[in-house]
Subunit: 338 residues, 2 copies
């Protein structure tokens, strides 16, 4: 079922069939009609591979993420794919599993499959792999890493602003002792969020005890453990910011398990605003980072680099929104801790 069969059936040449399909406008309407009928009758679809071979464009983008099971990613993937399909692109998703060796494999696969561009939404990337990609003149879009170069776009999330607003909110509620549960510090994104918090706190001149910044693992159990640590301090924080919502959910569990209440005794703020956050007990106040927007903008950046006339890489900003729910409340005047 190839173009030749279509051509035979329509008693025309493959060139004419091709021209009809690609709307080049050089085909007489009556002829085009014949072609369309033959295509219909045979149920013909053009072979994308063959097309790719001659055009040098596979019409595929790679999307490298850490782990699709992490609830941060599915929405991002979905909006990326949605945008892609809309423009006739296909998407190859690859999970690094937070593992830089796997990352190498992902990059290799992308090159072999001749994708037209790669969105790297994870931070396990070393300069060696980067140059591998640059060498092939592959358009790239990063999340929060590196600089903008001719073919390299960059999406930058303004963590400082988001975390700043959250701290502002907490401070205005009268909290003095503010804790932070970070993600695993092996992760670039976790480090970025943590240092944004630290910077923000010191900028406000709030005395920050170093023991009230602890490390989680961006999952529920890690958040629970970290919060337990914080609760065992002589003076536990009265408000806790977290590096992502799963961590916050873990913190919620640790707090209610010790018989304290959120937000009456301790306020908790999440990060990301995953869907679940609306449904926790109590619903989570959190810093929303729109994954929809991330996915869409990542695609757009690649698309414009590939198809656009402007060949330069872009710098794309993505903001955050503080979503106020019920896990934050004014600090008690007399804390119930001794």
């Amino acid at each position: 079922m190839n173009i030749k069969e279509v051509a035979n059936r329509a008693r025309l040449s493959t060139a004419t069939v091709s021209r009809t399909i690609n709307q080049s406008g050089l085909v007489r309407p009556r002829t085009a009609e014949k072609v369309r009928r033959a295509i219909q009758e045979l149920g013909y679809y053009p072979n994308t591979q063959a097309r790719a071979l001659v055009s040098g464009r596979s019409q595929m983008f790679g999307l490298i993420i850490s782990d699709i099971v992490n609830p941060f990613f599915p929405e991002l993937v979905k909006s990326f794919e949605f945008a892609a399909i809309h423009r006739g692109y296909e998407v190859i998703v690859a999970n690094t599993d937070y593992n830089s060796e796997r990352m190498g494999g992902c990059v290799r696969r992308m090159i072999e499959r001749k994708v037209d561009g790669v969105a790297i939404m994870t931070s396990e990337i070393d300069s060696h792999l980067l140059s591998e990609l640059a060498h092939r003149r592959l358009p790239i879009v990063f999340l929060d890493v590196g600089k903008v170069k001719p073919l390299i776009s960059n999406i930058r999330v303004d963590y400082s602003k988001g975390i700043g607003e959250a701290v502002q909110h907490i401070v205005s509620l009268g909290h003095k002792r503010i804790g932070f549960i970070s993600g695993p510090l092996t992760l670039k994104s976790a480090r970025t969020r943590r240092s944004a918090f630290l910077k923000c706190i010191s900028a406000r001149g709030i005395g920050q005890r170093r023991q009230s910044v602890v490390e989680g693992n961006h999952k529920i159990d890690g958040g629970e453990l970290a919060m337990t640590q914080l609760l065992s301090l002589r003076e536990p924080p009265t408000a806790v910011l977290t590096s992502n919502d799963l961590t916050a959910i873990g913190a919620l569990r640790a707090i209610t398990r010790t018989g304290l209440r959120v937000p009456e005794d301790i306020s908790v703020v999440g990060f990301d605003d995953i869907e679940l956050s609306r449904f926790t007990q109590p619903p989570l106040t959190t810093i929303r980072l729109s994954r929809d927007e991330l996915g869409r903008k990542a695609f757009d950046a690649l698309y414009e680099t590939v198809e656009g006339q402007a060949r330069a890489g872009h710098e794309i900003k993505v903001g955050t929104v503080l979503v106020l729910r019920e896990s934050t409340a004014p600090a008690k005047s007399k804390p119930r801790f001794r």
Copy 2:
């Protein structure tokens, strides 16, 4: 950067290079060494598209799911991809969004991209699309639909057994009034689970009032709403089975919101065992359906149909496991409802 450049650099023909790459064993070791060096120096990767064109195999599988944002799917996708990469296949994921029109688009994309097989893990499939695929001799694996035919494998989940065990568990705890919250009845999978429940109940001769089977939407809010309905009955059920875990979580919320407790007042059983279920308050008793297994077996079925000598479709069974946590307990002898 193509095979010709490699051949030139190694002062050999493209045929020899190709033979070296494909380990056909007809190359003198010393020659092969030259080729490998040239490949190294140029950083050459074979063009998969060109390969696909001549071999007639794209080494890609399609994976059609409802919605990657639904927590049921990410694990399935991940295990499918993992298995695929392991065997040198790439995966194209497509979301139908529970929409049968989109499904048509997904199928078309799969055909255009010349995938070597399609796993359809959703039930928006009409016979027209099916014949479209069959017409192209594409190996297919379904989840819970259709019959096994030469190129069509089928994964069958034994819902009756799983739900049977759950009902057994609930009954042995002394519950008499057992409710069920189904998924949206537009979904095949939801209907299957619901009818498995009904069959199971009637087989045990438990008087089933029809008002205690209500419809949710497989999401948290739907479960909450449906549970609220059940609670407003004159004699609410003392135990509730649900069509998936999100629904159960919604039910949990509705119950605690009205001041009742789980499991003391009402027992709740989920379905699927998504990761979150371990972390609900209380942790959810649920019927585990291993998505890992689903993904892996779906891949294996396609792989064997494509590469294996046995060209027949398979029938694959996937079981369930009742996971006992803390959302189920003995029925109170004197229910606190009037």
